[in-house]
Symmetry: C2
Subunit: 284 residues, 2 copies
């Protein structure tokens, strides 16, 4: 990106607390401006029931609307007055002036969970995406949970096995929104046993830092590329810069990845990490 970014990212590993202390969502409200906040909730990752054969299921689910309502209630409870849930179901929706206008006015844009490919395939190359990125550069807070976390990076994980040894054949990646450079994000990390898939991702390009976010855990990334961890679990950082061997390029389907000399950090709430220097900041 050419211009200096002024926005912040809040990337959440999914399943953030919505009923107790709401540590993460409360912090998001703080970042967004509290009573002056204007939060846009983007439910684009969630979808209506799938078409089965040639028929759509008859009972229309209100899934995106239900998610939108849930977060609207939480943010209201946390003192925000100006909240808009935007439900984008098509690329036409993502070019719709009314929606684009609301995104433009937001102080915080929050992506809910679902399927990360829905976010990028519906938003990529539209006015909504263009305005969102401009907002981020200008100083707006962009947040996302679960699928909404994965899309933050330039290349994102779209699928891969949980609780499995690292395998190239089962990992699928795609271009993300690209708000976060040099990092690949994974979510529901410890809870779904996803270290194998994140290792495979960084083996493919050790320039990338692997960021595995546990549930109810988030990182807040400032424009100086230092992030801070909040929430009840941990963030796992996989750094491949000292890799001295991987067989990732020669693997046959179903063969298991080998990789040596990965540097790993696990950090919990209050700790910081500097993406540029690739070092934990231990003196808080």
């Amino acid at each position: 990106m050419k211009e200096k970014v002024k926005g912040k990212l809040m990337i959440i590993g999914g399943a953030e607390d919505k009923e107790g202390d709401c540590t993460i969502l409360k912090k998001l409200v703080d970042l967004a401006g509290r009573r002056d906040a204007n939060i846009v909730i983007m439910t684009v990752a969630s979808e209506y029931p799938e078409r089965i054969g040639n028929e759509y299921m008859t009972v229309a689910s209100e899934y995106p609307e239900r998610i939108g309502n849930e977060y609207t209630h939480i943010f209201k409870r946390l003192g925000v007055e100006n909240i808009n849930a935007i439900h984008i179901h098509s690329r036409q929706d993502a070019n719709y002036d009314e929606f684009v206008g609301r995104i433009e006015k937001a102080s915080c844009i929050f992506f809910t969970g679902g399927d990360q490919l829905r976010i990028t395939s519906l938003l990529g190359g539209t006015k909504a995406e263009e305005i969102l990125k401009k907002a981020y550069y200008r100083g707006v807070v962009i947040a996302g949970t679960s699928a909404g976390a994965s899309v933050m990076s330039e290349t994102m994980i779209t699928s891969g096995n949980d609780d499995d040894a690292p395998k190239k054949c089962t990992l699928k990646m795609a271009p993300g929104l690209g708000l976060l450079k040099d990092v690949v994000v994974d979510q529901h990390f410890a809870q779904r046993g996803r270290i194998g898939r994140l290792l495979t991702a960084i083996a493919q390009n050790p320039h990338m830092l692997g960021l595995g976010l546990d549930e109810d855990t988030a990182v807040i990334i400032n424009n100086d590329a230092v992030f801070e961890i909040i929430g009840s679990h941990a963030v796992t950082i996989l750094d491949g810069k000292n890799l001295d061997f991987t067989n990732v390029s020669e693997l046959k389907p179903n063969e298991i990845l080998s990789i040596t000399n990965v540097t790993m950090h696990v950090l919990s709430s209050g700790f910081k990490y500097d993406i540029k220097s690739r070092r934990p900041v231990i003196g808080r």
Copy 2:
């Protein structure tokens, strides 16, 4: 140990293939001497149904016997003639001359899965254990799968959360059989998402190497402390020698571990690792 060890260890991450190629069990038969092998199967980790309230369940399960029969059939199929399944249910059994004699004559002693604390609480300090260790020093192959893998180390993991962020409060350790020095073994590793508990173990004493064995995957450890990996998944090695920070000693219950600068290797079949120098041996 004072004398130079001449035996080998085969440590298996559980769920090894018993019907297909049987790569791991076939290799064990090779190490044990093929047609000349004398394999003792130790089912001590498995148990009869637990007492519920003040009553034992009425139908006696033949669980240890069933496991013993299963492995007896497999080893027979793989060409071994001399196979003894020994079912130790008490410390008295573990001092029983008949059993001790059979262990003494074995070329390979194989621990099946179950509860690692049954193995150590029933064998620890008995004649069976003494004879087993002498056999190992003399050149016998000691093998174990799942719980039978965990007991190999001096300190073993007895319980801890699967698919969870590292937490000290949920990890329990106990003294193992101590055949393998300077290492903590975990099993069913990727399949049960156990990196959190193994990280906590090495954070507590970074002198220890963490060895996470996936299912249907094994290491063969020679007396020069170089091990080789076989099987269909991977082995994860966590090396804490360069740790520069952990809060493990200050953690409150339920707090999440932080740990920085862990070196991680993931190695698949055919790769070797040198425990003494703590380096993967990449030129095979």
